[in-house]
């Protein structure tokens, strides 16, 4: 049971988070909260000179939420928005799959470890919170761009 959820990859990202509290020249920031447990995550998004995304996060919460944020930053950092979009969509899709889908490992890399989470309705929100913050901060960053 627990093994379904807590795959090695997840525990590794939880214990050795990547992209946490990086120094990002933020153009968009989003703070998301899980109202049932109080978990929080803040995601900063900026653009590198070459047009790729710079992503960093801070937060506190359960292993799933923190590992997911770490995986998210690893997957998205250095991708262009166009490259990031299908990854984001695939992760959302994975979390909706109730453990039934066959995730694309090429696209999602360590993210495939979250397939087990999708079987536990109460934990899906944990895995998604950083990805929601990412999407929200991207919207804000683009708005900023357009307003200039």
């Amino acid at each position: 049971m627990s093994e379904d959820l807590y795959q090695e990859i997840i525990l590794d990202h939880y214990k050795n988070p990547r992209g946490k509290e990086l120094n990002v020249t933020s153009r968009g920031q989003s703070h998301q909260v899980n109202p049932t447990c109080g978990d929080e995550v803040t995601v900063d998004v900026g653009l590198n000179a070459d047009g790729t995304l710079q992503v960093a996060y801070t937060g506190q919460g359960c292993s799933i939420s923190q590992a997911s944020a770490s995986v998210m930053s690893e997957l998205i950092n250095g991708k262009t928005p166009d490259q990031a979009a299908p990854i984001q969509a695939a992760f959302m899709e994975l979390m909706r799959s109730k453990g039934q889908s066959e995730p694309d490992e090429e696209l999602l890399e360590d993210g495939v470890a979250f397939i087990g989470v999708s079987k536990f309705p109460a934990r899906i929100k944990c895995a998604l919170i950083s990805w929601m913050a990412l999407a929200d901060s991207q919207i804000k960053a683009q708005l900023t761009t357009e307003m200039r």
């Binding site: 049971m1 627990s2 109080g38 929080e40 292993s63 923190q66």
Partner: protein, 425 residues
């Protein structure tokens, strides 16, 4: 005392399995399980006497009305109250909101020149007093009342151990109502509500007590608590979902404006104005939760048969055992009182290096149902500097074997997460 094995046999759900093993239910603070006697009572009502109450002259309507009003009497007796001081609501949350809305409605009406009881008129310069250990249900209605009227919200703080800090000066002559929880659902702390109600009355303020976690677990005499209002839920005391109780002193209930309005709460209705029935009917608009009232009354009988003193004693023993077992574990810290002085059976704790959500999940995988999170006491968590806790909450059907199984769950979580980093606060 009572025979736990016999009690457990009354609860069908306790014999089901969860994730392959037997269910250990330690989440009664959120909602209790139901004995078949309560389910039978509800079903018997539906199959024999179901009709709209107070509205028909036929035989079924008479039987339904008797069942509903009889239930009110049983529930009143259970807490030593007068029958017509018991108002049926959908849950404790509605009951507390009902009182908060008496203030905003009276204030709105006074502004339109309608005569109202001044005790319920509130505005800038007035204050409302709660505490830092309130459930959201006894906090947000008062925040909302303040935001609608300009009154200010004040609160008693809490100590690091999770005891109420009854500073003087919080309640003063500006205070219109003091609303305090009897037993904290997060910390287990039992508060000296009688003393606080006296402080409220000394300055002419009204007093409300949130009995959600006390009425199910100990003998409660609402009059003896010295409050003006009390609120609790049926589903936490073996009763059905969808029913709660507001108790209020008759003279106060009858001087409050109505809350929900519609059928059954009226005296005379004209197209452009109406007059209202006395309490409790005044606050029970529409077809009420009749079957649920019948079920809740049966739950009161069930509890009375076992004896609330016995239930309290049983839970005290179990809580002492829980605290002792938790104390043996490395890296586990209880949030709330660690001794048995004025505390009930809700026991919250944090485990070093493992987030409560993960603790709860690991326990669940062993069939142990506990609650994790802020337990609708987010400000209390903030004050005590924990993002969330894991909570055991027991009831009459739990025994030491349940606690043992839960303790094994914590140890399994510690094993599993091994050298996980400390959770950052």
């Amino acid at each position: 005392m009572f025979d736990i094995a016999k009690v457990r046999a009354d609860f069908p759900i306790l014999s089901r399995t969860v994730r392959g093993g037997p269910l250990v239910y330690l989440d009664s603070g959120a909602t209790s399980q139901k004995p078949f006697q309560v389910l039978d009572a509800e079903r018997h009502f539906y199959e024999n006497s179901n009709a709209a109450v107070h509205r028909g002259a036929h035989a079924l309507a008479e039987e339904a009305t008797d069942a509903y009003e009889g239930a009110r009497e049983t529930i009143a007796t259970f807490v030593c109250a007068e029958t017509d001081e018991i108002v049926f609501t959908k849950n404790a949350t509605e009951a507390i909101n009902l009182v908060a809305y008496a203030f905003s409605n009276a204030t709105d009406k006074a502004r339109q020149g309608i005569e109202v009881d001044q005790r319920f008129v509130i505005g800038p310069g007035d204050s409302i007093v709660v505490s830092e250990m309130e459930h959201h249900a006894n906090l947000i209605p008062w925040q909302e009342l303040c935001s609608k009227t300009g009154a200010s919200l004040r609160w008693f703080g809490i100590t690091d151990e999770g005891r109420l800090n009854i500073e003087s000066g919080v309640i003063d002559s500006t205070t219109k109502i003091v609303s305090i929880v009897h037993q904290s659902n997060l910390l287990g702390t039992i508060n000296p509500v009688r003393e606080i109600m006296e402080m409220a009355h000394a300055v002419g303020a009204l007093g409300l007590v949130d009995l959600c976690q006390s009425v199910p677990h100990m003998p409660v005499d609402v009059v003896d608590l010295g409050a003006d209002f009390a609120a609790w839920s049926g589903h936490k005391m073996l009763g059905p979902t969808g029913i709660g109780i507001l108790w209020g002193k008759s003279d106060l209930l009858n001087s409050m404006p109505p809350f929900l309005t519609g059928g059954s709460m009226i005296e005379m209705v004209n197209i452009d104005h109406s007059t209202f029935a006395p309490a409790p009917k005044r606050f029970e608009a529409g077809v009420p939760m009749v079957a649920q009232a019948v079920g809740l009354a049966r739950a009161c009988e069930y509890l009375t048969d076992l004896g609330m003193e016995n239930i309290f004693t049983h839970e005290q023993e179990l809580t002492a055992y829980t605290l002792a077992e938790l104390a043996k574990l490395q890296g586990v810290r209880v949030i709330g009182p660690t001794d048995m002085v004025e505390r009930g059976s809700a026991v919250s704790f944090v485990v070093d290096g493992i987030h409560p959500h993960d603790v709860g999940h690991l326990m669940d995988s062993k069939g142990v149902a506990v609650r994790v999170g802020h337990h609708c006491c987010w400000p209390t968590c903030r004050r005590l500097d924990v993002p969330a806790t894991t909570r055991f909450s027991t009831y009459l059907y739990n025994d030491k074997a349940d606690i043992d199984q839960a303790i094994l769950g914590i140890m399994a979580a510690q094993d599993f997460f091994g050298s996980a980093p400390r959770v950052s606060a």
